[in-house]
């Protein structure tokens, strides 16, 4: 029995510990002000405040909730094709999620739903990662 507040806080901590990511933040919209960050703070992973829906109504006011989060990764690459940098970071994120797919027991599953193509131009690139998480919510507690 958990809630989104704990899950998103834990996700930010876990993503901040991914090898190669220097900053993990939570933002409300995808169009946050990236110009407030320095080169040293990149790669930066922004966890955008997710949508949430009931995946399954259960007995005793319990529900299985689906939390659909999008993460936006911003990174520097001083070359035309950032494939190597991109692959290294994405692999590290995948490994981190694979190592702890229940986020320390907070959720029942987390998986990468979709990965966008690389956007941006040299030297600032970005990529979107869609995450799907499921957790049990006790509606009597909320």
């Amino acid at each position: 029995m958990q809630n989104r507040r704990l899950i998103l806080a834990k996700l930010a901590v876990e993503m901040g510990a991914v090898s190669g990511i220097n900053t993990a933040i939570r933002v409300y919209t995808k169009t946050f002000d990236l110009t407030q960050f320095t080169q040293a703070q990149l790669p930066l992973l922004a966890i955008i405040e997710p949508a949430e829906e009931t995946d399954d109504e259960m007995t005793s006011q319990r529900s299985l909730m689906a939390l659909i989060a999008q993460m936006s990764l911003h990174f520097l690459h001083w070359g035309i094709t950032p494939n190597a940098t991109f692959e290294t970071i994405i692999k590290a994120i995948r490994n981190k999620i694979g190592d702890d797919f229940d986020l320390g027991g907070l959720i029942t599953e987390v998986r990468i739903d979709a990965l966008s193509t690389i956007g941006g131009t040299m030297p600032l690139f970005n990529v979107d990662i869609d995450l799907e998480m499921k957790y049990y919510l006790n509606e009597m507690d909320t």
């Binding site: 990236l34 110009t35 960050f37 320095t38 080169q39 520097l76 001083w78 040299m122 030297p123 600032l124």
Partner: protein, 142 residues
């Protein structure tokens, strides 16, 4: 080859100065001038490097994308035996070729684009003037 573009306007101007001074037969290179007033025929052909404009776009707190407008005012002098148009055209080919030989300005710019070239159409015979307008894209930390 790593494709960098991080530099300063001063480094880019210094590169252009070096490139122009290395042109075989050029007699005079100066900054921020348009008219060749007071310059005798012995100092032709010559080139004036003009810092015209800079458009800055903030990408990060310490990273900017700049479009630097730089005008090269070039002068030739035709003797009685020489045809001014031929001499001017030949000088234009040389200057343009040298400037575009390394559009990265010694790895200090992302790209150099020649936006337009105009001449005085022979109205100052035996002097001939042409302007090469360039746009130089570079990244900077401030």
């Amino acid at each position: 080859m790593p494709y960098y573009g991080l530099g300063t306007k001063e480094e880019i101007l210094a590169n252009i100065d070096t490139v122009l001074n290395a042109i075989d037969g050029i007699k005079f290179v100066d900054y921020q001038r348009v008219l060749a007033s007071g310059i005798g025929p012995e100092k032709y052909p010559g080139s004036f490097i003009n810092d015209v404009s800079t458009d800055k776009e903030r990408l990060l707190k310490d990273l900017y994308r700049n479009v630097f407008g730089c005008s090269l005012v070039n002068w030739v002098w035709a003797t009685v035996e020489e045809k001014l148009a031929t001499k001017m055209n030949a000088f234009e080919v040389i200057v343009r070729g040298k400037i575009m030989a390394d559009p990265t300005r010694g790895n200090k710019a992302y790209d150099t684009v020649i936006e337009n070239i105009s001449t005085d159409g022979g109205s100052r015979h035996p002097q001939g003037m042409m302007i090469i307008n360039t746009a130089i894209v570079y990244y900077s930390v401030d």
